[in-house]
């Protein structure tokens, strides 16, 4: 493994930074919009750094995981479903946001040995800022998801309970510091996803749900094979120790593991050509499920690539770099063109979500090609966050449009902006975010991704494969603009039709989740250092 690789994933950030309360000048300062992480040297929240590490009695992270599960149990045994879910999600959001200010403290760490041989721990902790950002994404989208949808009468328990379980699984996976539970929590979240689509989905719910079940089930198994292989070579399940021991893995094994991990994680992230489950599943799923899965749970695969594949089998991944670049271009261009031809908004959003995964894979490819690439990891993380929030917003609003007008057929709508101006405004922001309008988080992410592809680029050497892929990928932005703007025009502008002329606008309660998500997009869009500063520099 290249030595620079190790520093890129430092678990404990530099220790020279004093406690924030010691001096006000160490709070983050606004340095203007600058997507380059090295422009800012201030880290906020280092309450563990430079100070003796504190160990508090209560491991807080387990609370973030346990709270949704407890709320699920409460709902199962009769607590009011919607209220309990909203309550748990709100507390989680507060805890999650609060943790930003002291995430490097030991107070978050939790470890319970559940197996001796091999040593496996039920262990949680923020390994680095990437875990924190993913947990933040999870808690934000979870609250929006339980606030957004409307449960069919009689299915409230299932509806809100499943959402909570998906959230718990996602948070558990992102916060796990042990490979075993990293994998296990993700899988736990898949089951309620399948059930929700199969029971409460739209359209051909059974066929769709069966397809996602089989696809993701198989993908997880391929992934499991790769992870077990990796763990058997490193001899440990602790992610930190694994990374330290991974350097000794011989290239042949690296190659095999990398292939399994790309296919396994790739299937979970709908990497072309393993993507065909995603669009129909999101189109069919009830709103909170598609919000949580497309927004949060799917990021597990990308997170896994960044957390496990890239630092542990870098040489193996390099062997597969060219195929990976072809596949991610398949996501961006092929699926992009498929998206343009969609006739329904839900299918369009589902496909667009598949398409955008290509950009994040591009950042990962840039990191594989140039291990000392300082831009690629922040780029991937910012875009993961931005995409998660924006796709959740889009799915939430699409569901609201369908409830107002009874239709999502793009050819059969129009003029909704007159009867529902609030909806038009919020959907407009969401659509712009998805296209990548500056000022919204997706822009920061995409620009960083494109820049990261040109990191260490020497013009004299000509364009490398990553640069060529990047240049082709930039066309995806045009494709996004085409389908999103066309969808917006078809739904909101032009003469009103029967379904839209009397459509009800958003109520105050409908605004809350949308505004929550838009605030997150704006905050990161205007000041990306909010996320960049959390990441290892």
């Amino acid at each position: 493994m290249a030595p620079a690789q190790v520093t890129l994933f430092t678990i404990n950030p530099p220790t020279h930074i004093p406690h924030p309360t010691a001096s006000a000048e160490h709070f983050p300062t606004f340095t203007g919009f600058c997507p380059f992480p090295h422009a800012s040297s201030s880290l906020y929240s280092p309450c563990g750094n430079g100070f003796p590490r504190r160990r508090t009695l209560f491991p807080m992270l387990i609370l973030l995981v346990a709270l949704p599960i407890l709320a699920f149990l409460a709902i199962l045994f009769g607590a009011p479903a919607r209220l309990t879910a909203i309550g748990a999600a709100t507390i989680n959001l507060i805890l999650g946001l609060g943790s930003v200010f002291c995430w490097q403290s030991d107070a978050w760490d939790f470890s319970l040995q559940v197996l001796e041989k091999p040593a496996i721990h039920l262990a949680f902790g923020y390994m680095d800022g990437m875990s924190l950002v993913m947990v933040l994404l999870s808690v934000i989208v979870t609250l929006a998801a339980v606030l957004s949808g409307k449960a069919p009468t009689g299915s409230e328990k299932l509806y809100y309970g499943s959402s909570l379980l998906i959230a718990a699984g996602a948070i558990g996976a992102f916060a796990s510091t042990d490979l075993f539970f990293f994998y296990a929590f993700h899988e736990m979240a898949l089951i309620p996803t399948f059930l929700m689509i199969g029971m409460l989905g739209r359209g051909d719910r059974r066929g769709t749900a069966w397809k996602i079940t089989i696809y993701l089930g198989l993908g997880s198994l391929v992934l499991l094979a790769g992870l077990v292989w990796l763990a058997s070579l490193t001899g440990t399940f602790d992610l930190t120790e694994m990374k330290a021991a991974a350097g000794a893995i011989d290239p042949a094994a690296q190659k095999g593991i990398a292939a399994l991990l790309i296919i396994g994680f790739g299937t979970l992230v709908s990497l072309f050509p393993f993507h065909s489950w995603a669009a129909p599943a999101y189109a069919s799923a009830p709103a909170p499920t598609s919000m949580l899965h497309a927004g949060v749970l799917k990021k597990f695969g990308l997170y896994g690539m960044l957390r496990i594949a890239v630092p542990m089998v870098p040489e193996g991944l390099q062997v597969w770099l060219t195929p990976l670049l072809v596949l991610l271009l398949g996501n961006i261009l092929w699926v992009g063109l498929v998206t343009i031809s969609q006739k329904r908004l839900d299918a369009l959003l589902g496909n667009s979500s598949v398409m955008h995964m290509g950009y994040i894979f591009l950042a990962i490819a840039a990191l594989i090609a140039v291990p000392e690439n300082k831009l690629a990891l922040p780029a991937a993380v910012v875009l993961m966050f931005a995409h998660g929030v924006s796709i959740a917003l889009l799915f939430g609003l699409a569901d609201r449009i369908e409830r107002s007008t009874g239709s999502l057929d793009l050819s059969d709508m129009g003029g909704l902006a007159k009867s529902a101006p609030g909806m038009a405004f919020l959907f407009g922001i969401a659509a712009m975010a998805s296209i990548g309008l500056p000022g919204l988080a997706n822009f920061s992410g995409e620009v960083l991704v494109f820049l990261s592809a040109f990191e260490n680029y020497v013009p004299a050497d000509g364009l490398g494969r990553v640069q060529i892929a990047c240049i082709l990928a930039i066309w995806g932005v045009v494709i996004s603009a085409v389908y999103m703007l066309r969808a917006y025009r078809n739904i909101f502008q032009g003469p009103a039709v029967k379904s839209t002329e009397k459509a009800a606008d958003l109520t105050l309660a409908d605004h809350i989740p949308a505004v929550l998500l838009i605030l997150a997009l704006l905050a990161v869009g205007i000041y990306p250092n909010l996320i960049l500063n959390l990441l290892p520099q």
Binding site: L76, V114, L115, E116, K117, P118, L122, K157, F180, Y183, A184, F185, E187, M188, I191, F194, L195, G198, M199, R205, R206, A209, W210, T213, I214, G217, L218, L221, V222, L224, A225, V228, W229, A231, S232, G235
Partner: protein
């Protein structure tokens, strides 16, 4: 208390219930099952206070020649507990299954002539307990026959039912055949080594030059034990017998009989897999081939099944494949990784919990919806949400979904295979697990996604309700905290 009391007490309990049932004129036979379950639970408690000769070498009983045939270590204790627990649960299941059982007696709907159904499992249990303590091939053979002969009766117990009769005949013929293989194999092993004691075998085979006769004997015994555990190519009887036999018997066969087969397999293989054994490599190869074939056959043949009980039969073959793979990736107890014995025992313990839970539910479906097909589970999520949730958890565990006990068992097998570099075995196991995921979730799909054919809510009897609830919770608890089971093995 010397450990051999446990089997003696179990047999005594069986005789008491058999005799009492003959003389008590009660029309309702449920008391026999309950008494059996309570008695077995009491014996289960006693296992914790039992000791072998090593714990008290001065006692008179410790010097008896009995201990040449009978051993008592933590593994024996584990499998005795296993047998007792399984039998107790099967008896409880039988109590709730009376309704179906009484339909196929001489005078339908009377429980006349069903009393033996509650005492026979206890004798089989004693046989399984002896198998767990096997130290000598002759003793092991006798214990195995006690179990097998009891099962001949239990399988064909609903003798007015054609399916049950057919199952009985098939089990009898193939069982007898496998007995022949076993005795013949033991004879070859005795002939080539001069001993039937498992403890003396390692010394007897060390440095052996011509290993062909010994390997022939081992192969024959493996065929016979493969019949017990349902390994390819001796799995032919399983689907028909499982489908035809009364559900509690099927559960007993699938859990108790299989586990007993595996403890015997472990005891039998241990001497041949030690360091310095001249046949180690060959035996491991045979095991790997058996494991691969069993995994592929069990899982792929399960995919098209529409009858749930038959599906469970194939699933039982499939699980046997995973267990044999753990043995093929032999890892001794000393080592940084989990050992093969621990993995197999843990897998079986979780298999007990999940499978018995599913059989409890299946028995209730049979009683209330009069069928055992997957479509009889349709819409269970609408009529009985909690029962459906339990079934989903149990099936997910059988499929090996993480955070359930089933995953950890499979995980052990995978990591053993990876440690032993059995890449082909690992590949087949992944394919097998994927197929398993498919066919178990086919039932989950029926439960949640398809509308019920029969809207009536199923009301569970008290015993089944408690049993299903407990087994489901245990599935989840051991999925996150497997320590207790592994602790029991130490």
């Amino acid at each position: 208390m010397p450990a051999y009391y446990l089997e003696a007490l179990t047999v005594t309990l069986g005789f008491i219930i058999l005799l009492a049932e003959a003389f008590v004129p009660a029309k309702n036979k449920s008391w026999a099952g309950l008494a059996g379950a309570i008695g077995l639970t009491a014996i289960l408690v006693l296992t914790f206070f039992s000791i072998g000769p090593a714990a008290k070498p001065d006692a008179e009983w410790a010097k008896w020649p009995l201990w040449n045939f009978y051993q008592f270590d933590s593994l024996a204790r584990f499998y005795k507990i296993f047998a007792l627990l399984t039998t107790a649960l099967v008896l409880l299941m039988a109590v709730d299954y009376r309704k179906i059982l009484s339909r196929f007696t001489e005078t339908p709907d009377s429980e006349e002539g069903t009393g033996e159904f509650y005492s026979l499992p206890i004798f089989a249990c004693a046989g399984m307990m002896w198998m767990a303590s096997a130290k000598d091939l002759a003793g092991a053979f006798v214990a195995l026959e006690l179990v097998t002969i009891t099962f001949y009766i239990l399988v064909a117990f609903m003798r007015r039912n054609v399916g049950s009769l057919e199952a009985g005949v098939k089990y009898l013929i193939l069982g007898a055949l496998s007995t022949g293989f076993l005795v013949y194999g033991i004879a070859w092993i005795y002939g080539s080594t001069g001993t039937m004691s498992l403890a003396a075998l390692p010394a007897a085979i060390a440095g052996m030059e011509n290993t062909v006769p010994l390997l022939f004997g081992i192969a024959l015994v493996l065929v016979a034990l493969g019949f017990k555990v349902g390994a390819f190519p001796m799995q032919m009887w399983i689907p028909d017998v499982y489908q035809g036999a009364p559900t509690p018997t099927t559960a007993f066969l699938s859990v108790g009989s299989k586990a007993a087969g595996f403890i015997l397999l472990i005891r039998f293989l241990e001497p041949f897999l030690g360091e310095g054994s001249p046949v180690r490599a060959q035996v491991l190869t045979i095991l790997l081939i058996l494991a691969g074939a069993t995994l592929l056959y069990g899982n792929l043949a399960a995919i098209p099944q529409t009858n749930f009980k038959r599906l469970l039969a194939y699933s039982s073959i499939a699980h046997a494949g995973f267990l044999i793979l753990a043995l093929a990736a032999w890892q001794p107890v000393t080592g940084n990784n989990v050992s093969s014995i621990e993995a197999v025992s843990f897998y079986l313990a979780t298999y007990l919990i999940m499978t018995l839970g599913v059989f409890f539910i299946l028995a209730q479906i049979r009683i209330h919806r009069d069928g055992e097909a997957i479509r009889d589970f349709n819409g269970l999520g609408k009529t009985n949400p909690l029962l459906a949730l339990a079934m989903t958890v149990l099936l997910a565990a059988l499929a090996g979904v993480p955070l359930t006990a089933g995953f950890i068992g499979k995980f052990f097998v995978f990591s053993l295979a990876a440690t032993a570099h059995l890449w082909i075995g690992l590949g087949i196991a992944v394919v097998a697990a994927a197929a398993g995921f498919y066919y178990y979730f086919k039932t989950v799909r029926a439960i949640w996604w398809i509308d019920p054919r029969d809207e009536a809510t199923i009301t569970l009897p008290c015993i089944s309700k408690v049993a299903i609830g407990t087994l489901t919770v245990l599935t989840l608890v051991f999925g996150i905290y497997p320590y207790p089971i592994l602790e029991l093995l130490k």
